[in-house]
Amino acid sequence: MVDVLPPGLDATALDRALKAFAAVVGSEWVLATDQDRETYFDHFAIDEAAHAPAAAVAPASAEEVQAIVRLANQHKVPLWPISRGKNFGYGGAAPRMKGSVVLDLSRMKKIEVDEENGTVLLEPGVGFYDLYDHLQQRGIKLWLSVPGNSWGSVAGNALDRGVGYTSYGDHAARICGLEVVLPDGDLVRTGMGAMAGAPTWQLYRFGFGPAWDQMFVQSNFGVVTKLGLWLMPEPESMLGFDFEFDKPEDLEWVVDTLAPLRREGIIQQSPSIGNWLRAAAVLTTRGQWTDKPGALSDSVIDAIRKRFNIGWWSVQVRAYGPLDMTEATARVIERAFNGKPVLSTKRARWVKGDPPEGSPMTGVPITFPLQNANWHGGRGGHLGYSPVLPARGSLAMDQFRRTYALYQQFGMDYHASFAMGERHLTNVNQVLFNKDDAGMMERVDKFFRALVADATTQRYGEYRTHIEYMDLVASTYDFNNGALRRLNETLKDALDPNGVIAPGKSGIWPKAYRGERA
């Protein structure tokens, strides 16, 4: 491990840089032992060492981040900023480029809530549980929107376009105002924050002139040190339905039933139509169902569905707001499903004054879905594959058929959902694997590349990907011979001439490291 170095830097030069970092943050916050480096490995990775960092540095304030970034420029040290490093399935804490120094922001945990306006301004180290506890302890009547793995950072998740279950579930869309350390160490505030002391930083997104919040999402153009986010005022009620569907083919009409409701704003959260393995992979292990290799057979699928009393597909639909409105919405949703072959329907209802509902549907953070990494027993993991397609049933069905055939061909267990956006579907797949099965691990990479190639043929791009595949996915955005990449890299070189911030993030490589592109 001692030989992990940034490209073009020797051990003496790195050591000099780390000593300079230590003068800023204190030597206890420069983490450079073998064990320290390993704590930033992606524990889901096929080859953990492929993305090993050289060290980590953990500043406690924006001022310290500025100082570190300036030193990184002087010493030509590439940094890989992480908020809390829990982006499992996408690389965790590990850098895209081996030998980068992790800029670990997990010590930065300030929270400022504006209950009246339903906003929060938070630092990157604040996790969903931290924010939940903060609101609970103070009796603040605001709800979170949490992802299925709520261990991570609220800001980090929004900055990677993470999603949640409530009507605030498109997290990047709820960002309102950022504070960012630019690659030269300058500090900028976006939107109304550009006016010192403006009381509207978290209230109006755009400010005056170009609006830059989204420029720092999934990018490497700066280090976000504060993020403004809108939170949902606790509603009077949450009503909805849990629908089960019997056949794979039901996907088509279910999408066509939900899409107009979503488009018209009747349903404001993102219903996710998911298959039987979502429950089984969390609550059981594969060995409890079969000892046969290859994709699960129809008889095993039937057994799983029987045990959990679920359909081939399931979806949870929810409405939030005054009871008058949620009851009316529920009637409209019910009418839309009337006369269609629904396998079963269960009503969901929470009204203010009821005991806590206790699930992510009401913004309660959870970690238990991570149990699905244990599906194969032993050391497991998953890889996210999530192409975006139009919200049309026939296209969803085609996508399902082609993808399902690839799962069968590569002998992998189908784990997927179709999450309904306002105008699109995201086909979220979690490729579950067993790290101790060499044969399977060899197949995973080929399988993933086959999935991306298949989506690309349809002109569907992924919304997010693992560090290992960022160049692959970026290459599929190919209009005009990769004009978007040229724009991104022109911008990157202008802002970050030494390429010190997250080289390779989202396939964006600075001049200094362009040779590292896969």
Partner: protein
């Protein structure tokens, strides 16, 4: 994953990680803050440990067989599906406090 919410008795999950109480001793407070999301009721760690041992002792706080070395190894090198935890997230001093809390003998 969302289907699971129906199946796992989601209403119970609100108790998974009660907000840390400032009056708790440092080790207990730190355990809640740093580990509780996975190692209290309804958490990922508790769920996975209950597959491998008596479910009654899957909750780390009720065990009497944990040693400081085991705890340190689990935190810093990971174990099974648990990832490694960096010193930025849990410092050495915090690890010692958590360890002291977990290794304190509990009444059976």
């Amino acid at each position: 994953m969302r289907a699971l919410l129906l199946l796992a008795g989601a209403g119970l999950l609100v108790a998974a990680k009660p907000a840390p109480q400032p009056s708790l001793p440092p080790g207990a407070r730190l355990f809640t803050e740093k580990c509780g999301m996975c190692h209290r009721k309804g958490g990922m760690g508790t769920g996975l440990l209950s597959r491998r041992m008596d479910a009654k002792v899957a909750m780390l706080e009720s065990r009497n067989d944990l040693t400081g070395d085991t705890i340190e190894a689990a935190i810093r090198t990971g174990i099974g599906n648990m990832p490694r935890i960096s010193r930025a997230e849990v410092s050495d001093a915090q690890l010692r406090a958590i360890s002291a809390y977990l290794t304190k003998r509990k009444p059976k």
